[in-house]
């Protein structure tokens, strides 16, 4: 699977060295192949893709042979057909834009609150005393359990959906940014002091950049939760969006449309994850950590 340098162990290698040396007087040797020799032939991306492709093939065969009835789960060909139809009418695109908009709006609100509170608690003793205990207490409440309360507060429109996402995303960002600020290398803070940095410059040039890797980890968690909260939130009497499409399909036992919606959720999630990884590449290029090559 991976491109780790491999060793071709020839007969007569390590374990049998002593015996060989005694037997025929020759030295046991092994050949160390260059790393590029590993994984030649089938490209890595193709090998990684083979699993999912096989799964879809199995699914297709099961549907065609009737092992998997359409009422339980529609076959891939039906799903593709429905997707094409939904795209043709523009329903799917509209739903995606609305769902993505909800996720981003919730993340923007929740993320801003989380980061702001983390900076407050991270930088100021007073902020820590006020904010941190409260946040640590609140984060243990499962935010999905707040849905009934959110509906009472905000009704059944857009507001409770976005509020749910905001609530879910605020905590991972808060926790990670706060930890990032508190874990900034103290020797660098000292170095900053000897360089005569003012408090503002210390925060701008040392503390916040030092907290950035953690902040991006927090962003990843937050996005994962934003998606989860979106799925839950869109169950609240949605009149538009992917959740609405799904709810409609459920009413009519259209498993094909449900699968299309699931795939769209997955693709949106992948897309957002890709965005964060790109952000990490751009903003954390300075990091000496293992780059995974």
């Amino acid at each position: 699977m991976s491109s780790i340098a491999t060793i071709t162990i020839r007969p007569g290698a390590v374990e049998r060295r002593a015996a060989d040396a005694k037997d025929d007087g020759t030295l046991a040797r092994q050949r160390i192949e260059p790393a590029s020799a590993a994984g030649q032939g089938v490209p890595r991306w193709l090998r990684r893709l083979s699993g999912p492709i096989l799964l879809v093939l199995l699914w297709h065969v099961a549907s065609q042979t009737g092992v998997l009835p359409g009422e339980v789960l529609a076959g891939p060909s039906t799903v593709i057909g429905s997707a094409a139809k939904l795209i043709g009418t523009g329903e799917l695109q509209d739903a995606m834009v609305i769902s993505l908009g909800r996720a981003l709006a919730g993340l923007a609100i929740g993320g801003s609150i989380g980061v702001a509170l983390a900076v407050l608690a991270g930088l100021f003793r007073l902020g820590e005393d006020f904010v941190d205990a409260t946040m640590q207490m609140l984060r243990t409440v499962p935010n999905v359990a707040l849905i009934p309360l959110l509906i009472i507060w905000f009704g059944i429109g857009e507001a409770p959906k976005i509020a749910l996402i905001a609530l879910g995303t605020a905590f991972p960002l808060y926790l990670n940014v706060y930890a990032g600020i508190r874990n900034v290398d103290s020797t660098l803070i000292e170095a900053g002091r000897t360089l005569g940095l003012s408090r503002a410059a210390m925060i701008g040039h040392v503390v916040l950049p030092g907290a950035l890797p953690n902040a991006l980890v927090g962003l990843r968690y937050s996005l994962g939760i934003a998606w989860l909260a979106l799925v839950f939130g869109e169950q609240i009497n949605a009149t538009a969006g992917i959740g609405y499409l799904m709810a409609n399909a459920r009413e009519m036992f259209q498993t094909d449309v449900i699968v299309v919606c699931l795939v769209v959720y997955a693709l949106l999630g992948l897309g957002v994850d890709f965005t964060v990884r790109t952000l990490e590449k751009v903003f954390l290029a300075w990091r000496p950590a293992f780059s995974g090559t």
Binding site: T187, L188, E190, A191, G192, R193, T194, L195, G196, L197, A201, H205, V206, P209, G210, L212, A285, W286, R287, P288
Partner: protein, 263 residues
């Protein structure tokens, strides 16, 4: 500047070893420490310490691990105020630590001018990097620097501040032997050029004798011994005078050594 003037006097002295001018200037020392005591809990790490460093003087502070030498340096760098006593240091001072302590998220040149007033001045950073011989590394991340290059960057960052006092906390301890020799030569040259007072904290006797005007041996929180090094510069490790001074310092540090008899 008084500092640069004093430095010139020292250069003259090097040829004809004579300490008189330094003594007269000692009325306005760069560093003045009186009755300095620092406790960690019950333990007294610095005991009623008196230290003077003249402007432009190169002082090495020798001592075994845990003798309090780094504690003194941290107090002079204003990183530790939990002390009792009287400490005066120049306003313009700079520190180079054992680890280079570069901000990993700033390109090398930005590290050099970090903390200077006004906009980041690349030309100034480049000049400083050029002086320590790594101008070509200005635009890389610190993570790709070798140990020696990182330490040079740290020196450039200290010197670009044009300090009157440069504090060096075992800056060569983590370098390999060959890189260390080059770095020591570099510090010697930079000192001659900039004329700032230097306090070099080290446990390397040879390094101290090679570079310093005066060596202080620290033991159990007090200055146990003071040795003025009047050898002409550049100094030669093979010089018998050098070996004798080194031997006597090693004795003060309580270390037996084989080469003592050679001197």
């Amino acid at each position: 500047m008084a500092a640069s003037l004093q430095r010139n006097l020292n250069v003259v002295e090097a040829a004809a070893p004579q300490t008189a001018p330094k003594q007269s200037k000692a009325a306005v020392p760069a560093v003045r420490v009186r009755g300095l005591t620092r406790r960690f809990g019950e333990r007294e790490v610095l005991k009623n310490l008196d230290v003077d460093i003249a402007p432009g003087e190169f002082v090495a502070l020798l001592g075994a691990s845990g003798c309090g030498k780094s504690t003194l340096l941290r107090i002079l760098a204003d990183l530790d105020r939990e002390m009792v006593g009287h400490v005066e240091v120049p306003v313009r001072r700079a520190v180079a630590f054992q680890a280079p302590r570069l901000m990993p998220w700033k390109k090398v040149w930005r590290n050099v001018v970090l903390g200077l007033p006004g906009r980041a001045d690349k030309a100034r950073a480049l000049a400083a990097l050029e002086e320590v011989g790594i101008g070509h590394r200005a635009d890389v991340w610190p993570k790709v620097l070798s140990g020696g290059e990182a330490q040079r960057t740290s020196l450039a960052r200290a010197l670009v501040r044009e300090p009157d006092l440069l504090l060096l906390d075992e800056p060569f301890a983590a370098l390999d032997a060959l890189t260390r020799i080059k770095a020591q030569d570099l510090v010697g040259e930079l000192w001659q050029r900039h004329g700032c007072a230097i306090l070099l904290v080290t446990h390397d006797v040879e390094e101290a004798v090679l570079l310093a005007d005066r060596v202080l041996v620290m033991k159990d929180g007090i200055i146990a011994h003071e040795e003025r090094i009047d050898l002409p510069r550049p100094r030669d490790v093979a010089d018998p005078h050098f070996a004798r001074i080194r031997g006597s310092l090693l004795d003060w540090l309580g270390v037996r050594h084989g080469t003592h008899g050679n001197a």
